[in-house]
């Protein structure tokens, strides 16, 4: 088990390296190919030639791409100095560089942003797992009834209606018309109550979208599991139906849900673009969109690495949990 985790962690580092190399390659090569100049992005269009060259030298943009990538990696692990003769700026590890636009350090910026996604993801995921799995299970047990049909139609709507539609409707009705909830985000540390109120609508809207998938998956899985031989055995032992369903069937039903839950959560932590945009939340997704729009390469790099890290770690966590849940799975 330990050996396995170690091997997987080595794997995580390797995969992040690959992701970093690919994004680095794309974002630093493309401007070269299209003829635009990253150094120019820093200083703005009206800068004079000397200033541009100065920045180019300070940011290391005059070095070869391999060298630049090496410096970038070094920055993450030990920090780096941006040095232009007398003008030295130290960026301590983990250093992801400076935003072209705001000249803020990328790492603290992203740390700041990820809190929003964390709040969003945790709240929404609790909601959707409980609601989605719950309706799925009830639907499966009442298969073919009116209740089943209504919830499954609702789930279909949840899967097919886009976020920016349900979200905007929710905002219009509950925040603007009824005024029940504020339509902006407050940090937890500033005011927990406002933090909660501000997130209620995004949570519900996001959970609605995911709950639909979970409802359909848990319904289908439970129906499959109920057809298994071991469920018949459990009944043959004379166990009461709640035990048969609640213990024997649910344990098997939750396993695939665990898998997609890990992936979904990992994905959300790396930024929920549509939700953030709709509810005006400034998380990683928001940062990703704005940085792409303004060709802010260091921020794009940072967001990509963050997102990749969360997804890969979620993957590892799911695999390990799987081994805990299913004794047949041997890691190694």
């Amino acid at each position: 088990m330990l050996v396995y985790v170690f091997r997987r962690l080595v794997n995580v580092v390797f995969m992040l390296l690959v992701v970093a190399a690919v994004t680095f390659g794309i974002f630093f090569m493309v401007p070269k190919l299209t003829g635009s100049d990253p150094a120019l992005l820093y200083v703005g269009k009206i800068a004079d030639k000397a200033a541009v060259e100065g920045i180019r030298h300070k940011m290391g943009l005059d070095k070869s791409i391999i060298e630049q990538f090496w410096l970038f990696l070094k920055g993450i692990f030990v920090g780096r100095d941006f040095n232009a003769g007398v003008d030295v700026t130290h960026c301590s590890a983990p250093c992801l560089g400076y935003s072209f636009k705001t000249e803020r350090e990328v790492w603290p910026l992203l740390l700041d942003r990820v809190g929003v996604d964390f709040s969003l993801a945790v709240g929404a995921s609790i909601l959707w797992v409980v609601l989605g799995t719950g309706t799925g299970v009830v639907s499966a047990l009442r298969r073919g009834t009116l209740l089943d049909r209504i919830t499954m139609t609702g789930a279909l709507a949840g899967v097919s209606l886009p976020m920016y539609f349900t979200g905007l409707v929710a905002l219009a009705v509950f925040a603007n018309n009824l005024g029940w909830f504020p339509n902006n985000y407050t940090d937890f540390a500033d005011d927990p109550l406002l933090w909660f109120e501000g997130l209620v609508l995004p949570w519900i809207t996001l959970a609605f979208l995911f709950a639909a998938t979970y409802a359909r998956l848990s319904r289908a899985t439970l129906l499959d599991v109920l057809g298994e031989d071991y469920i018949r055995t459990a009944r043959a032992k004379g166990l009461a139906e709640p035990v048969v369903i609640g213990k024997h069937a649910m344990r098997s039903t939750l396993t695939p849900i665990l898998t997609i839950f890990g992936m979904d959560l990992g994905g959300l932590l790396g930024g929920a673009v549509l939700t953030e945009k709709t509810f005006n939340l400034r998380g990683l997704g928001y940062e990703a969109v704005t940085s792409i729009a303004s060709s802010d390469l260091p921020v794009i790099m940072g967001v990509t690495l963050f997102a990749a890290f969360f997804i890969i770690m979620a993957n590892l966590l799911v695999d390990m949990l799987y081994a805990v849940v299913d004794p047949r799975v041997r890691l190694g």
């Binding site: 050996v3 170690f6 091997r7 190694g332």
Partner: protein, 350 residues
């Protein structure tokens, strides 16, 4: 179904009168081995191997049927996959009509694929549910780009008829057929390219008893009509006895006994064969009182770590010290009867 009275005598299945020794067998397998590596640790060191098939020799003559019996995990199905080259052997040699086909690539193997066909156990999963019977049975013609005299459709319909199905079934789908009929479809597909040899892995074990007999008889008829050579892998000793000319018994990746059918069933020499035969339940309630049954204790050991010497010794009631130290070779104990045992049974008879 042909009437039983018209059946030719058993001896008619062997076409060539030449003595067995100077005839080149159709299929010859020597030292065939398949080990599945087991890895461990950070660098995936190989720490061992599942010895699924661990050095077996046998040959099948043209026109005869070799039956291979053994319990689950004995390697008989892996052996079948090796011989049809669906799996890559880790050692040994497979010769078909004298040509070495052990490591031929996909292209070089293609002509032999026509000659060696396979019938599978499960008539439910081995037919594509979205294809019509015509497409399924006709697929070999298209894949091998074989020209047929009156078109593929006619050829397929002839095959269906040969296998006891109606030519009208051409446009139907697998789900419209019962298990027995599906197995007939599988057989028709295998026969499409006029193969010389058919390898059948548990061809009847998924079928109902009354249907089993239909398929067994069909295989019999086809062999006589088309001069086919069979390698039939099965766990059911009574079925194997019925269809085979010679029988090989496998245990833990080894052939422990191989003999002419009658010799094997009348006087099995390996203790394992003996135990197997005595374990087969017989539809005769009176017999259970008077027969002596050899009850094997315990389970088959793991092929990952097979016992030293004779692999059966851990469950054998005749085992001595020599069985642990020395592996008994497969040797001819009498004419047409080879056994790998230090203390064979029934050796005094004859």
């Amino acid at each position: 179904m042909t009437d039983s009275q018209t059946a030719a005598p058993q001896t008619a299945t062997v076409p060539a009168p030449a003595p067995a020794s100077d005839r080149e067998p159709l299929l010859r397998v020597t030292g065939l081995t398949r080990h599945f590596p087991v890895t461990k640790g950070l660098f995936k060191r190989q720490v061992g191997a599942v010895r699924a098939v661990d050095g077996i020799d046998f040959s099948v003559n043209a026109g005869e049927t070799l039956g291979v019996v053994g319990e689950s995990g004995c390697g008989k199905s892996t052996m079948g996959r090796l011989v049809t080259r669906l799996d890559e052997p880790t050692g040994g040699k497979i010769e078909f009509e004298g040509a070495d086909i052990t490591h031929l690539g996909v292209g070089a193997m293609r002509p032999y694929r026509r000659d060696i066909q396979m019938i599978f156990q499960d008539p439910y999963s081995s037919l594509n549910p979205r294809h019509t019977i015509g497409t399924i049975v006709g697929a070999p013609f298209r894949l091998q780009k074989v020209a047929t005299e009156h078109g593929v459709k006619k050829a397929v319909q002839d095959l269906l008829e040969l296998c006891g199905l109606s030519p009208e079934h051409y446009n139907r789908y697998p789900h419209e057929f019962s298990g027995g009929q599906r197995q007939r479809i599988g057989i028709a597909r295998a026969l499409a390219l006029k193969p010389k040899m058919i390898i059948a892995d548990e061809p009847v074990s998924a079928l109902d008893v009354s249907i089993q007999a239909q398929v067994v008889n069909l295989l019999d008829d086809l062999q006589q009509e088309l001069g086919l050579t069979y390698l039939i892998i099965a766990h059911d000793l009574s079925v194997v006895r019925h269809v085979s000319d010679r029988v090989a018994v496998m245990y833990l990746g080894k052939v422990v006994e191989i003999a002419e059918r009658d010799s094997l069933y009348a006087s099995p020499m390996h203790p394992y064969t003996n135990a197997l035969m005595s374990a087969v339940p017989v539809p005769d309630p009176r017999r259970k009182e008077r027969r002596e049954r050899i009850l094997l204790t315990g389970d088959v050991p793991s092929p990952l770590n097979p016992p030293s010497g004779c692999r059966f010794r851990t469950r054998c009631w005749k085992a001595q010290d020599i069985c642990a130290s020395q592996e008994p070779p497969l040797t001819a104990a009498k004419a047409g009867h080879q056994v790998a045992c230090h203390f064979p049974e029934n050796s005094a008879t004859e």
